[in-house]
């Protein structure tokens, strides 16, 4: 298949994810408006940061009255998980350093998972297509949230607060079908993250949970020996 076909596949497979992203964008926009961010800053944040977890962290920490550098550090820590994710996708990217750096901006949670072909290999076109589907959904959702400013209570009452974790759960479910190692890594990631969330912010807790990937590798080696 050509890259264009792969991009189309990525867009098609991301329809539900884009819908979830849109809803989360509405939530972010509404929350940002409620926190006095105005009309422009939330939309520019979604255009340039394109990361729900980091943007929610920024919003929450700034809203708590903490120093600006703390808010930025929290958001950056949460997004540190993109470092190993971009590293893993690097062999699939093309061109010189600058082009690779730009192509790597398509690495977001859902796109990275959808582009994963197993055995650490990634489909570049699917990665692009998935990000292309989600980015406008995220920005448009933010804009709608900022303009309409629906109450967070309304979003929760209609059950829309479940959209993002449910979609991550579906992606996880599909990943766990690959192998026993994947199931062990998932269990480890869940337990470690849950424990770390008691004492750390979400970003470092997620990074700690990602270390479960090492446990899974050890299990694979043991099974092979």
């Amino acid at each position: 298949m050509s890259t264009v076909d792969d991009i189309r596949t990525g867009v098609r497979r991301s329809t539900a994810l884009a819908a979830s992203t849109f809803v989360l964008g509405v939530t972010f926009g509404a929350l940002a408006r409620a926190h006095g961010w105005g009309l422009g800053a939330p939309v520019v944040a979604s255009l340039t940061i394109f990361s729900g977890s980091a943007q929610f962290a920024l919003l929450t920490v700034l809203g708590s009255g903490a120093a600006a550098w703390t808010a930025v550090a929290s958001a950056a820590l949460i997004n540190l998980r993109f470092f190993p994710m971009a590293l893993s996708a690097a062999p699939a990217l093309q061109g010189g350093r600058i082009r690779r750096a730009i192509e790597a901006q398509t690495v977001v949670d859902g796109a990275w998972v959808l582009a994963h072909q197993g055995e650490g290999r990634f489909n570049r076109g699917v990665l692009f297509g998935s990000a292309l589907a989600q980015w406008p959904a995220w920005v448009t959702g933010t804009l709608v949230g900022v303009v309409l400013a629906p109450s967070i209570g309304l979003l929760n009452a209609t059950g829309l607060d479940v959209v993002f974790p449910a979609f991550f759960a579906l992606l996880l479910f599909d990943e766990m079908r690959h192998s026993r190692s994947a199931r062990i890594a998932a269990a480890g990631g869940a337990v470690i993250t849950a424990a770390l969330l008691l004492v750390l912010p979400a970003g470092p807790a997620l990074l700690g949970g990602a270390a479960a990937a090492l446990l899974g590798l050890r299990t694979t080696n043991t099974a092979q020996s």
């Binding site: 800053a41 993109f82 901006q105 009452a157 759960a169 690959h178 849950a194 270390a211 479960a212």
Partner: protein, 102 residues
């Protein structure tokens, strides 16, 4: 308001750097096989963490039953091989109903 704009700009720059560094430095070199093995398991580990993080929140402050029931519904309906959007709709309905009942 200026503080918000500065924070948005700095976070955007940090985000760009985090994603760009490894691909720009690594170039075309393939990853060592051991690294590939670990990376293959990063997706399930991180996804599990993301689900837990969404469900519990920092210090488990946003733990709530309706959300957990909704996520379980999504996973359960997936076992019936329903397409993802249908699973999400089922999760939204269960979460909304549970919210209303509590």
């Amino acid at each position: 308001m200026t503080t918000i704009w500065i924070c948005v700009a700095l976070t955007a720059l940090a985000n760009f750097a985090i994603k760009a560094t490894a691909p720009a430095v690594l170039g075309n070199r393939p990853l060592p096989s051991r690294a590939k093995g670990v990376i293959a398991l990063l997706a399930p580990a991180l996804l599990a963490g993301l689900v837990i993080s969404d469900l519990l929140g920092p210090r488990w402050s946003s733990a709530n039953g309706p959300l957990a029931l909704g996520v379980l519904t999504a996973a359960a309906t997936r076992t019936t091989r329903l397409p993802a959007p249908a699973c999400i709709i089922a999760a939204v309905i269960v979460t909304a109903v549970t919210h209303a009942m509590l």
